[in-house]
Structure formats: C-alpha cells, structure tokens
Symmetry: D2
Subunit: 309 residues, 4 copies
C-alpha cells in the first residue's frame, strides 16, 4: 500500500501547478472575493493518521457540505419520518432548480439540493428559536471535529441573506405546499447561517470521520449514529452529493462525497478514511474543479474506490 503522507504531498504539489482552476462562485458576493489559487487537502485515516497538504489549515465557507451534518442531526431527531418531507433520488437538475418541485408537489428530491436542505433545516428548527437551532448545528460540528474553534462567518451569512432570492423562492414554494412548518424567513435565516460555517480541511476531515467508521466518533468512542444509518448517508452522498455532477463524481472518484459552492468537498472512503479538499474554482455543475481532480488522484493511488480494486 502506498504511503498516505507521500501521496497527499504529491497531490498538493500537482494541484499547486495546475492552471485549470474552474470559476469562483459569483452569485454570493462575499464568496466571489476568494483567491482561486488556494488548494488544501486533509485526510484522516482509520488508524488516526492525519495527512495534510497545501492550505489545509485555512478556513473556508463550507456551504452545502453543511447539508451532510444537518441531515445527520435531523435523522437523529426524526428518524425515517424525515423522508416524508424529502426524497432520496438524484434530481437530474441544477442545484437550485424549482421545476422538480412543481412536478412533485413541493417535495424536494433529496436532502443535498438546496430545496431539500432547506426542508431538513426547517425540521431542525421546529420547536426551537433560530438561535438555538444554529447553536445545536454548530455544537454538533465542534463535537464531531473535536475542535471548539469552528464558527459562522457572519459576513458571508449576511451576504447570502441579502441576495438569496432563489433560495427564498424555493422555500416559499415548499411552504405553499405545506412542506415547511416554520415561518419562511426564520428557516432561511438558519439555512443561510449554517451554509456560512467556516472550517478548514483539517477540521472538516475530522468532522467526517464518523461516516468512514460505521457511525463512531473515534475521539470519544461514542456511536454518533448507527452503522446502517452511516452507510445510508454515504449512499445518498454518492447518488446526490454533487448536484447534477453526481454521476460524474462517482464515475471518476468512486467515493461518496458532498461538495459546496465555497469549493470544498468532503469525501468518505468507508472503513479507510475521511477526506476534505478545498479549491474555490467550480466546474459547470457547481462543484470544485481541482477538488474533484485531487480526489480522483487520491482514490486511484490509494486504491480506495468503493467500486472495486
């Protein structure tokens, strides 16, 4: 087996030299300012080894990667009743499409497109004040990453709140079908703030360990979720984690993963490692271009594809 530290260092070096970097998301003004030259990678192996490269310690806006954690939280609270509010099929549409909602009575296709994540956030909010709900999400992230130094970037949150009309359209649309319980602006407030959580690749890879280790948090030895639920979250990440580029990611990388428009990707090699990469430039489907390229190299060199040796 190849040496993980060596492979990670090689990949960080290769990514540094590449010129094809995709396009930084421009529809959230605050994100548009991020330097496209950043690249970070962090891998936490099953044995606890941590290998990092590039800007692995630099915090970035995790954006939609938060959807993995809010799904986990909401499943913990509601169990399979959650699936009455959101499906688990790939959407075949861009991340912010509203067409599917009209066809399917306001039920979003899966929890990893914007509409689905808003529906999940609405569940977490129910019975709470927005501030409490956000506190719970943040505490969960800190607990999983075993790191108290994770916070919300209020500037990004405010930027999204000012410009998030498309998400407001999705939320109001679902509300018109009764899919949301709380006032639309409260649900959106929590959603915009959870997307604005800032984390480094190191923190993110730590936070993702439970998905690689049958639901267990190795820092505490606690079972965060049952093994079957961890498998199932991984399955949804594989089929739906990269919007309308999910098939491509499965084809090239062969690992469950979830991307965010901040340029981060969290990937899981079940039983082997939790991985986070970050490069702000996106491809046409809204996923980090070099992030995907790096994960493809890592998966191949470490022989981690879930689809066979």
């Amino acid at each position: 087996m190849p040496d993980l530290n060596l492979v990670v260092a090689e990949i960080a070096d290769e990514m540094r030299q590449r010129r094809d970097r995709g396009t930084v998301a421009h529809y959230i003004p605050e994100l548009a300012r991020v330097d496209p030259k950043h690249f970070g990678i962090a891998v936490v192996a099953a044995d606890g080894t941590v290998a990092t490269g590039g800007d692995a310690a630099m915090p970035f806006s995790i954006q939609s990667i938060s959807k993995v954690f809010t799904l986990t939280l909401a499943l913990g609270r509601y169990g399979d009743r959650l699936w009455r509010r959101v499906g688990r099929e790939p959407s075949g549409s861009p991340f912010n499409s509203i067409v599917q909602l009209e066809r399917e009575q306001g039920i979003p296709r899966n929890p990893f497109i914007n509409a689905g994540a808003i529906a999940v956030t609405d569940l977490i909010l129910s019975g709470h004040q927005p501030r409490e709900a956000l506190g719970e999400i943040l505490s969960f992230m800190r607990f999983l990453a075993d790191d108290a130094d994770i916070s919300i970037d209020e500037t990004v949150a405010a930027s999204e709140q000012r410009t998030g009309f498309r998400n407001a359209a999705l939320a109001n649309y679902m509300k018109s079908f009764g899919v949301l319980e709380n006032p639309v602006d409260l649900t959106l407030g929590v959603y915009f703030h959870q997307c604005a959580i800032a984390m480094s690749c190191q923190q993110l890879a730590m936070a993702g360990r439970f998905l690689a280790q049958s639901g267990r948090n190795p820092s505490t030895g606690l079972q965060v979720i049952q093994p079957e639920r961890a498998r199932r979250i991984n399955a949804v990440m594989l089929t739906c984690g990269h919007y309308d580029g999910s098939g491509e990611f499965a084809y090239r990388v062969g690992l469950p993963g979830k991307s965010g428009v901040g340029g981060g990707i969290l990937a899981v090699a079940p039983g082997k490692a939790s991985i986070a990469v970050w490069s702000p430039g996106l491809d046409a489907a809204g996923n980090s271009h070099l992030g995907r390229v790096a994960l493809e190299a890592l998966s191949r060199r470490m022989d981690w594809s879930i689809f066979g040796a």
Copy 2:
C-alpha cells in the same frame, strides 16, 4: 462471516412466503403472461462458490440488464468516445422519458435508460448488419457466462417490436439530432432483440463475474476489460442502474446493480460476488420489488454494502 449457502437458502425461503410482489410489466404483452410467483437467486462468490435458491435455473427475459453488457461491448470498441453520444448522470425521470432529450439536444443522460441504451446499440450496429451485431452481443453473453445455452426469445422480441412505439419515439427523436447513425428501424430491431435475451439467474450471475473481479473472467482468466473500466461501469450502475429508483436502491441495498422490466436484477459486490435475482413483479419505478428486497437482505446479512461496515 455468515455461510453464503445458508443465507441464500433463507432468503429464497422468505421470498417464497411474501405476498407483496409488485405488478408484472404489462406494456410488453408477452411479458405480462409471466407468473408473478417466481423467485430465483444465484450468487457466484469470488472464490468460485455458487449458491442458488428458488427458480435460479429458469430463464427469463433479461430486458434492460442487457444494457450493462452492450455498454461493456461498446466501450471496448469505442473507448471514451462513446461518452460523446450518451452522458453518465442520473436522469431524475422515468425510464422512457423523452423530456430530457428535448432539453439536452438529443443526448441521453446515461446508457441505462432506454434512450441511452438505444444510442449504445446504434454504436454497436455501425459498420455491421443487424444480424452480425446481435450475434456479437449474444456471443459476448455466452463467453462471459461460459455457457453456450443462451438465446433470444423471438416471441418476446416480436412482441416488443409490434408495441415499442415509445422506444421508436425516443430513437426517432435522437435521430433528428444526429445522435443515431443507422436507420432507426435497424437500430431498434437490434435493441428489441438484445432486450429479449433469455437467461437464468445462474447464467446471469456467471456473466456478471467480470464486474466483481476487476474486469477478469475467472473461467478463462482473460481480462475482459481493464480494472478501471470495471469500476466505472459499476459506478454508472450505482447511480443510474434503477431508473428513477436508483437512489432508493443505493440507499437500501448499497450495491451497484441493473434491473430489467422482466423482473431481473444483476448486482455486484466488488471483490466479493456477482449476484442475480428474479421476481417478475415490479415497483412503481419499474424495478423488481422482491428482487430489491432479497438483495437488501443479502447485502445486510453478508455485510457487502459498499458504503461501509
């Protein structure tokens, strides 16, 4: 590790007793006559062990499962140029939807929906007579299954040809965009015949071994395709193999698989086993209901999910 023979026998027994059997496909008249009570299962493990249960030796119409094999054949001939004609993203639509084709200039979303498989068949046909193309497909199946006793059910093929207007619509639509090269009726003729191949679970599980074994055919020791290509075909099966029920199958079963409206499913546990199940009753998305239930049980009891222990 649980005993495979025992597990397979248990599952066959449990399936025999279940009353929820789905609905036999009625849109192909010849298939509508099949008795919904059939259930078969065959598992070929990596070590060569074969475990079977129920009607494992009874031939059935493999229908869309043939798409896995024609994709393999066409990739062998055209390599990655094939992907100019067909995508590899889940469709988010029923198996025979034409809406997506209008939105995307006649390029089908993936090779496992009808439109995509017709485009792949058209590639195989190019430069050949229909009879030759069909002969090649059949020879490939016999070679993979190591069994000369596999043939086309001409009654089923004729039944599809007489009633396959929706597939004719898809083919003509693609032709109008220049996605098909051959005369529409010739391409459709080959397509309807490949769908009408009759095989038993035993034969099908044998034919699928190369996908579980890094592209190698254990009967001959020959490398059918490169390991990376086997992984990638598995990835496409996982994200697209069950039409608009692909997310559900990944979530519940956790294995790459391809279903057919004849009620068969071919599934792959990479490095571990090739599996075929058959039960004619379908669920709403057009996939074998008990087939999926049986695979879910098998995957859980053998701990074969690709998404973690």
Copy 3:
C-alpha cells in the same frame, strides 16, 4: 338586432337556474366563504345603454381582473419598454406555474399570469411608496368607472398576504434574475392589495369601456390610451386572459376577456360593449364557470364574436 336588455335578463334568469356552478377558490381563505349561488351581469353598450341582471350591484373581489388595469397604467408610464420585463405569449401552463420562469430566465410569459402581473406591479411601484402606488391604481379604477365608491377589501388583502407563498416564490424567483426592482415584500404588498379591490359588475363594466371604445373614456371624452394600445391590450386578453383556458374561452365566447379567481370576468366586444359577469364557482383552469357560460350565450345571441358573423 336582439334587444340587449331582454337578452341580459334571459341570461341572468338561465344562470340562476343552473346547477353546474364550478368550485369556489379555496386557496385564499377569505374568498372560500363566498356563496357560490351569486350571479351578476352588467353590459355597457357603445351608445351608453346599461343592461344588468342578477347581483350586478354586489361588490366582489376582482382579483386578477386588476391585471388589465395595472397593465394599462404601466404601459402609460413605460410604453413599450414594459415588454422587456414581461412577454406577451400564452403560457401553456397553470396561472401560478414557476416552471416557465426557470426556462426563460425569470421573464414571465405575459402580464396576465401571476408572475407577469407581479412584474407589472413592480414597475408601477418603482419610484413610489407602496401606498402611493396603490392610491394611483385605485384612482385609475375610480376614474375609469366614473365612480368614487371603489375600495380595497383589507380582509381579503390580509388573507392573501398571509397565505400567498406561491406568489412569494414567483416574486423571489424573478428577483433572483433581476426582473423586479423593488424589495419583494413591497411589490407583493401592492400586488395583494390590487387583487383585493372590490367592485360590482356594474362598476367593472363601466371601467372597461375604454377597451371597447378605442381607448376613449366616454364619461369624460378623454382618450385614456391610444386606439392601437387598446387593440393590443384586447389582443393580449384574447390570447392570455384566461390562463390555460384562454384557447377555450376564445373558442366558445369569441371575445377578449380577463378572469379573476373571485369569479369575475371582464369581457370586451370591440366597438360594441364592455361586459362584466360574476359567479364565484371556478372551472379546472381557474376561470368562472357560469361566467364563461353566460358570456358564450351573450356573445352568440348578440352576434358579438370577433371571429365572424
């Protein structure tokens, strides 16, 4: 030529006896309480004759009929620049569909579906306070109807504001494409209030006279709009005035018209009459059932179809 008073009296009588009354709109709670037995009709002929029948003097919520008047106002202020924000083609979709907006970059198909009317209201609001914009709309209605006794039903407006999530989705969606200039909630506030204007058939038929008389208001002799503009508004009413039932209305009635979910319809027989009918029960496309039936009878008996003798 048949006697208008007689024909109107006959029709009012026939409508009173019919049992097929459609279904009262239930999605605006306040409207759901209206008694489905009401029927009113008022016709103002070109010579000034006024013929009425049934509940012609009872005010009802004009809802989308207001869209004709806000379009007229906005055309007066912006001229043909208005058409940069909204198209003039039938939508082929229900009145509150959002699908078309995604396909066409947030530009609504015409000013008579909800999205289009919201875009028109947004234009009227620009440079004004909501209260001023509403005042202008109301003054215009009073001027056209030559009747100071027209007002907004605040209970209906509040009911719509509380439950208008689908309209909020449409407005936010357009805002995300830059089609709206003002804050979404302000534009929606004006929109919900204009829809809540209460008028009787008599008032409405008076207000519609300028469309039947080449843009002239006979009360004052003033030219409200140029003759060509009146013709063009009539044309848009004919092709788009009844949502996805516009073809049916043209086919059966043969007059330009605009319906509202309150059960009213304003129709125009160019050069001959301005007509208002009201019956709260709607058909599947959201148009007054008996209103359409009554107009079909009127048009046939008076020989008023614009499509030939």
Copy 4:
C-alpha cells in the same frame, strides 16, 4: 376607407425594399433552396375584389397552412368528437416540442402544432387508403380555391419523409398512448404529402374565403361549414396559429392566421377579406418574418383588426 388595390401595391413595394428577411427554413433540405427574396400577397375581399402584389402567382410549399384545411375536413367528418384527440389551447412551446405530450398523456395541445396536425391527419386517414385520404385533401383544396391546378410537390414530400425524424418521434409517441389509430408510417406519409401541397398566394387567399364569410364558399354559394364552426376555427387560428409566436401575431396583426415554414401565412379578416402572404425567411418562432410585417401594415391601413378600430 382606403383603396385596397393601392394599399396592397404599396405593401408589396415596401416589402421588396426591406433587408430584414429572416432565415429560410433549413431543416427540410428541399425548402432550404428557395430564394429568400420572394414576396407575394393576395387579398380577396368580401365583395369578390382580388388585389395582388409581388410573386402572388408563384406556387410555394404551404406546409402547416394545410393544417387549417385538414382541421376543417376532419371537423366535417367527426364533429366535436375530434376534440377527444386534440386540445385547443396554445402550447407555450415550439412547434415540434414533445415535452407537452409527455405531460398530457399523448394528447396534443391544439391542431396547429405538428403533433396535433398529425393526430388530425390520422383521423382523416381512418377507413381509407393513404392515396384516398390525400386525394380527398387535395380535392377539398381545389374546391375551396375554385382551381384545379393545385398539386403536391413530390420532391418536397420525399425530402420531408427522408428527414422528418422529429415528426416520426411525435407520431410514435402519440401512438404509444393510443392517440393514433393507423400505422405510424401511413399517417406520416399522408401528413408529409399534405404539407407538400404547392399553392400560390392567389390560390390560398381564394381557398380561405369560407373562413372570412361565415363558412360559405362564394364561388358556389355552398355552405362549406356552419358559421359557428368558421368562427371557432378562426378562434383557434388566433390563439394557436403561429406556434409560440401566436401572442405576438395577435398583438401586432390582430387577425386570425396560420403560418407555414415555407414562409406562407393565411390570414382572415372576418366579414372583410381572406389574405395570403408569402416570404420564405422565418423569424425565431418559425413564422414568415416579412409575411407578418406585411399583414401588420395591411391590417392597420385597412383598419381590419378584430380587436377594435
């Protein structure tokens, strides 16, 4: 009232000088060869006056204008039962869209888009040989135009038959829902031939007289169809006669009309005139650009808009 001959001569002259001519349809190879500089106009007034200009005597391919005549024929044979097979609402989509058919179980939106016209042709074919059906259509055209010298351009028909894959997709799609009764290739054969009828503006304007004159053919004095049916066909022409440019045509021209991709338009001024124009260059919606411009000028100068003086 302005002099018709003078107005027609002026318009022919103005059109000759214009440079904006649209784009000749290229998807039917045979039509792509037509010189875009042609322009013809013919007006048959209610009093029998015939005014012509430009290439009014030159035959061109009437294409979709034939749909008006096959609709008339089929209504004559089937009456309102025809409407079980085809709707009468504008489609909100391009002329050859298949999306709507999937949403509405194979029932085309109206008889003037391709799918709808194919369904109407299928009705005319039922119980006949294709040659008989075509003969009946041709005889009907000759009878209406009072001119035996109208025929089918076999080269155009063959060109369409070779390349009409999109129409074949539409037909097969409808067949899969049982909307067509006859073998798809027979129905398409008749359809392609009816589209390939060649007529001059003079012949076409003569053939359209019955729609301007309450259903009467002035040559014979015979009532071709009842007045109400003539009105209703005019209504469908107004709302659906120009594909997804129907709203625009109503807005600008204010007359019922039907266009064809050969560049012809038949328009009707009820009670006043039957009009045919021809200019091969099309606009983005597939309607003759100069044809529409000429009709707009004619309608304005003669004050013929149905939407008011």
